[in-house]
Amino acid sequence: MKAWPVVQAATLLLAFLAASAAPDPRESILPFSISMAQEDWEKEFQAVCSRTDDAMILTVQELRILVQRCDELKTSIDRLEGSRRKVLLKRLQMCRDLYAFTLDTKERD
C-alpha cells in the first residue's frame, strides 16, 4: 500500500517521458494517421505546407510522402464548410501542386 503512490508517480513520469519523445510534426516527413481530430489536422496542415520553401532540396521519397499527406489532409478539409473550406482547399492545392511538380521534375532527372 505504501508503494502505491510511488507506482503512480513512476507511471506519470513514464507517460510524461513518452509524450516528450513524440516527434515534432514540423520536422517529421512521415504521414499522420488518417482519422484526425480538428486540432490535429490544423497542425498537420502547418507541418505539411511549411516545407514548400524546401521543396527543391527534399528527396523523391520525402516529396512522395508530402504529396500523400496533402491528399489525406484534403479529406479533413473537405468536411469543413463555407469560406474556410474554400481558402484552405486552395492553399492545400498550391502546396500539393508544388510538391507534385518538384517530384515529377526530380523523377525525370
Partner: protein
C-alpha cells in the same frame, strides 16, 4: 546598334498589333492606375458599385505571397469570387479589413457587414467605388513622392524602394501564414532570346522569391523547372501568360525591355 533598335521597335510593334487584334485600343494606364483590379463577381448584383482594388498601396505593405498564397487570392481578377460573406467571416479582404487588425500602427477599416446604415455607406464606398467620386485615404503622388522612380508602370522602382528601406512588405501574418524555414534560393540563369541580336534575359530567382516564394509561380504559371524545358514567346507573354501574368498588370511592364534583356550581345566579327 541600329539593328538592336530596329529589333526593339519590331517587338513593340508586334505587341501593339497583338493588342489591336482584339479590336479595342487601350490607352496606357496612368501611374496611379497601373495594377488596378476591378472586382465585380457579386457587387452589382447586390446593388453596390464594383470594387476598385489598388495594387500599389497593398504591395507597398505586403509581399505577393502573403495575399496570393497565405490568404489564397487568385492571380486573375474575378478568379477568387470573394463575397461579402467571405469578408465577414474573416477571409480574403476580411483577413485584415476587420476593424481590429493593425498594419503599420494603423487599424485597418472593416469591410463588409451584415447590417449597415447610411452612415456606413462612406465605409462601403471606400472599396465599392467604381464610377464614384471617392477621395482615397492615401494619395498616390504623396505616398510615392520619396520613392525611387522608374520609367513605366507605377513609375516607382519598388525593388529599390525596399532595398532602400522605404517600404517593408510583410511576409507573415500571425494566425494566417504558415511558418516556413528560410528559402534556399535558386541561382540566377540566362535565357537566350529567339532573335540573335536581342540581349539574353538574366532571370533572378532571388528577386522573385523574396516576394513570391515558390508555390505562387510553380506550377501554375511556370510548368517547367529545367532551363529550356518550356519555350516562351513574347506573343504569349504579352498575351498575359508566363512572365506576363505579373509583368503586364502589377510588376514593371513588358515594354521596359532592358529590365529583363540585360546580357550584352556578343558581337562576332564575320569571318
Amino acid at each position: 546598334m541600329a539593328r538592336f533598335f530596329v529589333v526593339v521597335a519590331l517587338i513593340v510593334a508586334v505587341a501593339v498589333t497583338a493588342e489591336a487584334q482584339t479590336g479595342v485600343k487601350k490607352r496606357r494606364p496612368l501611374p496611379y492606375e497601373y495594377g488596378r483590379v476591378i472586382l465585380n463577381n457579386y457587387s452589382e448584383k447586390a446593388g453596390f458599385a464594383p470594387v476598385v482594388f489598388e495594387h500599389w498601396l497593398h504591395r507597398s505593405k505586403f509581399t505577393c505571397r502573403l495575399c496570393h498564397v497565405d490568404i489564397a487570392f487568385a492571380m486573375k481578377a474575378g478568379g477568387t469570387s470573394v463575397s461579402a460573406s467571405d469578408n465577414m467571416s474573416g477571409y480574403y479582404c476580411g483577413t485584415c479589413h476587420n476593424g481590429k487588425t493593425s498594419i503599420g500602427g494603423e487599424k485597418v477599416f472593416a469591410s463588409c457587414s451584415k447590417k449597415y446604415s447610411s452612415d456606413d455607406m462612406t465605409r462601403c464606398n471606400r472599396c465599392h467605388s467604381l464610377g464614384k467620386n471617392v477621395k482615397p485615404q492615401y494619395d498616390f503622388a504623396a505616398f510615392t513622392q520619396r520613392f525611387p522612380k522608374e520609367r513605366f508602370g507605377n513609375g516607382v522602382d519598388w525593388e529599390k524602394a525596399e532595398n532602400d528601406g522605404l517600404i517593408k512588405p510583410l511576409d507573415f501574418l500571425e494566425g494566417v501564414s504558415v511558418s516556413r524555414k528560410p528559402l534556399a534560393v535558386q541561382k540566377d540563369f540566362a535565357l537566350d532570346a529567339k532573335l540573335e541580336s536581342m540581349p539574353a534575359i538574366i532571370f533572378s530567382h532571388r528577386k522573385h522569391t523574396v516576394w513570391n516564394g515558390c508555390e505562387l509561380c510553380h506550377p501554375e504559371i511556370f510548368t517547367g523547372v529545367k532551363k529550356g524545358a518550356t519555350k516562351y514567346s513574347m506573343v504569349e507573354i504579352f498575351d498575359g501568360k508566363y512572365c506576363g501574368v505579373c509583368h503586364r498588370t502589377v510588376a514593371f511592364p513588358l515594354i521596359d525591355c532592358q529590365r529583363c534583356h540585360t546580357r550584352p550581345v556578343e558581337w562576332h566579327k564575320p569571318a
